[in-house]
Subunit: 143 residues, 2 copies
């Protein structure tokens, strides 16, 4: 079964090119952090408690790195390459803290494509005000 | 500032040894998937729609890989090494699909410790019925 464009019936893979990219931006709020804490179970007080975080090296509560990383998953699953794609791997390096009120932009860029194995390799970056907060790469399989 | 045990005031790092591990198990339900879809924005129909997933290679709706990965974050932030630790990096390879009703066990094992730089390196695995569904590794910094 090949992933086809819903409108044209054309194999999505054939429309992809190195350098294509998609982004998603979201302002991080307390609601995001509390929701992710519930889903993940990660109630590390650096995310949950103003008092604890205030005494930490971060001085303020920070967002969960894997919450921000999940925006890559959203881009892959809904935009590029889109519905039906299969997540093969993801690497993540958390380079800076993200605070409540920060607007995070997640961007994925096609680095290379193997048309025989139908694998797409992406650079994946989350940034705040132009500074990378997460760097990494992903491999996607398009059935 | 050093992360100390809340009860003893002892530096947590000095109590860690290679081979130490912690696990967390959760049965995956529709509620988990819908919650994670909301937080991440990943509404790929392989997660959301029985009809779409039924026609896919998976035959049934599957869980988001990054949702399962978030259980590693929860173990790090709450159990081993525990509150105050800093997530430096995580690699993830998604090796098998996880379905609604599957009980996933996330396990982190200390592979090595650098006491000078205060970095802890972990093997991280999620498994269902003894079969790995996610494999990877993580680096944690203990301030």
């Amino acid at each position: 079964m090949t992933v086809e464009d819903g409108n044209t019936g054309v194999d999505v893979l054939s429309s992809l090119k190195v350098g294509m990219s998609e982004s998603y931006s979201q302002t991080i709020t307390d609601a995001d952090i509390k929701s992710f804490s519930g889903v993940s179970g990660d109630k590390n007080p650096v995310h949950m408690s103003d008092e604890y975080a205030g005494k930490s090296r971060f001085k303020k509560r920070i967002a969960h790195g894997l919450m921000l990383s999940s925006y890559f998953s959203a881009i892959f699953g809904t935009k590029l390459p889109g519905p039906g794609c299969v997540y093969v791997s993801q690497s993540l390096k958390f380079t800076r803290p993200v605070y409540i009120g920060d607007t995070v932009t997640a961007t994925v860029v096609i680095k290379s494509i193997n048309f025989e194995t139908r694998r797409i390799f992406f650079d994946t970056v989350c940034a705040v005000k132009g500074h990378a907060v997460i760097k990494g790469g992903a491999e996607i399989y398009l059935p």
